[in-house]
Amino acid sequence: MQQIGKRQMSILIIVFLIGSTPLFELGIKAKQDAWIAMTLAAAAGLLLTVMYLRIHKRAPEAGLSELYMMHFGKWLGGAVGLLHACWFAYESMRNVRDVGELTSMALLTLTPKWIVMLLILLASAYTVSKGLEVFVRVGQLLFPIAAVSYALVLLLLLITGLPDIHHLRPVLENGFAPVWRAAFPDLLSFPFGQIVIMLVFWKYVAEKKEIGRITYWSQTGVSIFLIMMNVVIMSVLGPELASVSSLPLLEVVQLIRLANFLERLDVIVTLLLFIGLYVKMTALYMASVFSVNAVTGIAYRYCVMPIGLLIYGSSFLEPNNTYHIWIGLDITLKVVPLFQVALPLLMLLVGVRKKYKAKTKTS
């Protein structure tokens, strides 16, 4: 069986949660208080992780689908597992589509989307076919690249003095309500609640005892980083410009002009965008394959191709970007809590009633 180390798991969590998040100004509905909304959502995300970890501890060798089957019985649990697998595939599809949309918006305006999406999905499928070990190692390689790029952007922003902390004032201009509305469910569902994917991967971690500690630390660190990026973007662009811009970080980086030389750093942002989206889509794709494999017993390698085709095919269902965003923000967000909160919570409750822990000890 494949095994990953605790450091690898930590990097997986970090890279997965960062994903493409810093490129967007999330929680902009709360205007200059976006960071407060982020903080709330991050804290709630940690609570979700506590719940996931409790479920995981009941059967450290079980993946998400196995857990469903244990709690809800073979048939019902299997069906829920498959549903969740579909959900992972759907989320992966959204990232594929994001790559297509953002590339055609910012980078290759005339290139057809199908080729861009096909290529990135092929890279993803190639990784999935190589397995989890290779994927986390690729993550380990991409992590330093992303870290250096973010550090460079932040450093240059500091040197040029673009951020102006006054843009964060006045705090809570319209009271607490808009902040709360921005945080829940939007920000909790994306990105923090997506950590539910770790229920699939935790069983492969070699150091079972350290999972909780490492997960909490990684998630806290990532949350702080995401909030910081949110603050930086806001303090450069101000709430009004940040809300009209589709890729705020690109906007910020375009403003950096230093020594007539470090002017056009768009490529860094583009790179970060692709790295983030690739990691996310691959992790979700892989989670989907793992879940299908666990429920149906179809060999892993035979699952890769059909699910990939499914993801690719479904990425064409939305006619244009407006639909894509609309479905993402209005429809998807209403369904997400089912998978991130409701089902795991149900599992937790069912488990309490069944006294699952005691049962496994005796058996």
Partner: protein
Amino acid sequence: MSIGKLFKLFLAIVLALPAGGCWNRVELNEIGIVSATGVDLKEGKWQISYQVVIPQAISGNVGTPSSAAAVNVFSTTGDSFRSAISRASQETSRRLYFAHNQIVIISQEAARSGLEQLFDVYLRNADSRETVSVFLAKGSARRMLEQLIPLEKIPGAAIQRMIANEEANSSVFREMTMHDVLFDLLGASQATGIPSLTVAGSSESLDQADKLSRTNTPSKVRLNDLGLIDKDRLVGWISKSESRGVMWLAGHIKRATVAFSCREDDKGLKESSVLVTRAKTKLRPEKSGGKWVMHVAVDAEGTLMEYNCEGDLTKPGDVGKVEKAIEEEIKREMELGWQAVRKHKTDVVGFGGSIRQNDSKAWKSMKDDWPEEFSRMDARLSVRMKVGTTGMSGSGFKKTQKKARS
């Protein structure tokens, strides 16, 4: 699915790609690099002018660069910006390439009729970079593009450097990039100031390269007044000296030379000057008696550059007097600027933003008629000047001469 198969699929796609063509590919000799754009309003239609760089004239492959003009200017018209730009293909062999556009010049008429269309183009398109500098022109924008600038090959880039130089060294105007403009117009007070360009000197245009072969040119491009934009249209002009006051109020002074007179009553010649090397402006709004008052506190530091007064700079008391004189001068400049913007009811100094940050509730109630509210405001100005260095000689030359005679 085996890895080998996947890899083969990848290879097949890669090999099939050339057949599909290269969608976004454009060779360097297929693009016309636009270095400056002009926006005019002609009979209700937008007239867009382009200053296109001719690369061979700048760095030719063979021998020395030719003495021909390095840019070519032409215009197209249309109801919308993009339709005008798309018409360019009817007159030029190359695709216009805007990513290296350095400046946008907007004519007075165009600015008065409203610029929302222009701003939308910049917000929507990735190839229109928001780092372009924006200028107004009192006359035709196209004529500004046609002017050559001594020492420089590409006028668009030259004007961009001119404003950067101005901002860094005398701070009468500051470079307004499209980002700055959008930022101000989307901000609390929804108003901004944009510097303007004029052709100074004789009416003869400097539009032939051989005119640059003389040691002096009959006319030249110069930065002139500051145009005040409210919402999205031009509402008025303020002069250079008023513009400096606005820069003081808004806290945009980076380096400035302030000329001052030694006489307390401000009647004499301003024969001395100080180079302000650091300046900071603090705004503090206060509501007093149903009326808003803005306390503007400037904290500046500088080096004495010219001194033609009676004082003896080796004495602390006299240095204090000099500082006082400078403070008064700066206050006068600010007062000038403040009266000008108040008259035009355009808040280009950021008072609205300051009130919003300090008292967002009060701001909400009055933001709808902010221009009126703004014009009713009072500004209490205070300046603290610190002369750090007085230069290498103690007292003025005149006084030293007198001393030497006695």
